[in-house]
Amino acid sequence: MKKRDKLLVKICVGTSCFVQGGADLLLYNDFLNPELLDRFEFEGCSCLEACKAVNDADVESKPPFVMINGKLHGNMNSDKLNKLLSDEI
């Protein structure tokens, strides 16, 4: 697969996300299934502005945020990322 065929995973490293669990997602090399690593391209990105609209009744609206192929996902953790990425392929 050529590099540009890979789907893009943006891990938000804005301060809100980073300090509320986003930092740990940067260890994706360690926790993702190895086969997923080849299929996606990862990058840290600036604040996605989603942290400005947290709704306390909805956990999914809370940091840390990750954008997978243009779609925003909140309340991210390593297990969830593994699952979402596996669903994507």
Binding site: Q20, G21, G44, D56
Partner: protein, 483 residues
């Protein structure tokens, strides 16, 4: 210890940010009693019994954040706004730095070993054979542990081929290296402050968030509001805790209202120079070993539990001690705020009269969030000439302190260092016998947090990632870090 980014730490950071936002708005006094309702709205799915208890817990977190000694000063009839007024108008003692929320404590059953259904009552019965107290008997083809006889040595668990022995610990008690946590007659955890060394391990181990640190942030906020110049003293461990480099962290602090930022590593350079001279002098004078003195929790350990080490520990001040006097010497009217990963530093801060407030990285993170400062986006500020002390940023990592001392020895002198990398009950027992069996070393570096300060209770990112973000130039081998 719990994984750092669990539900509880997220709630905490939510509480902190919300309180601070309203503080900077100037509306905290009106808002503060509403915050528990805003964070736990009506339609929330409660984790505990009901939303009312959840809200009560938020109330306690707000109190701890303001620095209230909950154990001592909890008054359920008193509105938060009144606590807030009090906090803003008088200064409260910072010790003890750790307090318990008794209603949050789930009164975990005593530490115990149990035989599960997986037991097959095998022929070899290694559990029975290896139990030093004859606490194991057999009934209905399965092993059974007599709790009265069991001394919780764990031997049966180690030898069972079916992994059928369960160990159910009390997380706070297990985390405490010095046995300072006990239960009262209702089974609620209480801290014995005569034993506590303020290491903060319990605050990070309770899955119910029932043991909390009393934040020092409000003391710092009061200083920032005052007219005096406020100097932020950033601990060596800060590198890797925020998304950005040191220059950007400095700039963010300036934007947050600090007037000047200094690196504690500059003080660490003096600590290392003096310890290098002191250790040589001591060895020449016939002493067998000297320990470092920069870890404040270790200093408490010596004061409270290992008095024989009083004459073995270096008399040098900690990096915080030196940098704070340097800052105050330059400008005696300014106020100093130490920003680090450590709770015990607040105890040390009280002892020194040069440190005006101590806050943690997670509190600073809340401050940045409340002020909408995005560390990664700000223009890096110049750190000045750091060449003389740059290597002392390694004070934050196990083996880094001894490394810096060794680099500052006169030529021709060699030392044999030894490292206490993290204190737990077992290491503590080992240290107790040092008067009889001295460590085979002449410089003993002691860090109560495993891996060093980068694993302190006030940190934000896991030590593994922190090391990576620090550029991997750590002198500590990977083993120093829990993965």
């Amino acid at each position: 210890m719990l994984d750092m980014n669990n539900q509880y730490t997220r709630i905490k950071s939510r509480v902190y940010t919300m309180v601070l936002k309203s503080f900077f708005n100037g509306t905290l006094e009106e808002d503060i009693d509403k915050i528990p309702f805003l964070i736990i709205p009506k339609d929330t799915d409660p984790i505990r019994c009901c939303i009312y208890k959840e809200r009560a817990m938020i109330r306690y977190r707000i109190m701890a954040f303001m620095g209230v000694n909950i154990e001592k000063d909890d008054d359920e009839m008193k509105p938060l706004s009144e606590y807030y007024r009090e906090i803003m108008h008088k200064s409260i003692p910072s010790a003890p730095v750790i307090t318990t929320i008794s209603t949050a404590c789930s009164s975990c059953p005593h530490d115990q070993y149990l035989i599960s259904d997986a037991c097959r009552g095998c022929l070899a019965r290694p559990c029975y054979v290896n139990c030093p107290k004859n606490a194991i008997s057999f009934a209905n083809g399965k092993a059974h542990i007599n709790a009265e006889l069991c001394i919780r040595c764990g031997k049966c668990m180690d030898v069972c081929p079916f992994h059928s022995v369960l160990h159910i610990p009390v997380p706070c008690e297990a985390a405490c290296p010095v046995d300072a946590i006990k239960k009262n007659n209702k089974g609620v955890a209480i801290i014995d402050y005569t034993k506590c060394i303020s290491c903060g391990k319990c605050t990070r181990s309770c899955p119910f968030g029932a043991i909390v640190e009393r934040s020092g942030l409000f003391s710092a906020l009061k200083l920032l509001q005052g007219k005096d110049k406020v100097v932020a003293m950033i601990a060596p461990a800060i590198d890797g805790q925020f998304p950005g480099n040191l220059g950007q962290i400095k700039q963010s602090l300036l934007q947050a209202g600090f007037d000047e930022v200094v690196e504690v590593s500059e003080g660490a350079n003096i600590t290392a120079i003096k310890e290098a001279a002191e250790v040589v002098e001591r060895i020449e004078g016939g002493e067998d070993y000297m320990t470092t003195s920069c870890c404040p929790s270790y200093m408490e350990l010596v004061n409270r539990h290992l008095p024989f080490l009083k004459e073995k520990r270096s008399t040098t001040l900690s990096p915080m001690g030196y940098i704070a006097s340097m800052v105050k010497e330059k400008d005696p009217t300014c106020k100093t705020v130490f920003i680090g990963p450590c709770l015990a530093k607040r105890i040390e801060g009280v002892r020194l009269n040069t440190v005006d407030a101590v806050i943690t990285f997670s509190e600073l993170a809340a401050l940045f969030m409340a002020k909408n400062i995005d560390v990664r986006e700000v223009e890096a500020s110049d750190m000045g000439d750091t060449t003389s002390f740059e290597d002392c940023r390694e004070f934050a990592v196990s083996e880094g302190v001894a490394g810096c001392v060794v680099h500052r020895l006169q030529e021709g002198v060699t030392l044999r260092p030894m490292y206490i990398n993290g204190l737990d009950a077992k290491t503590f027992r080992g240290m107790k016998i040092w008067p009889k069996r001295a460590p085979v070393a002449n410089l003993v570096e002691v860090m109560v947090c495993e891996g060093g300060c980068i694993n302190g209770p006030g940190t934000i990112v896991s030590p593994k990632l922190a090391l990576k973000l620090r550029g991997g130039k750590a002198t500590a081998p990977a083993k120093a870090v829990r993965s």
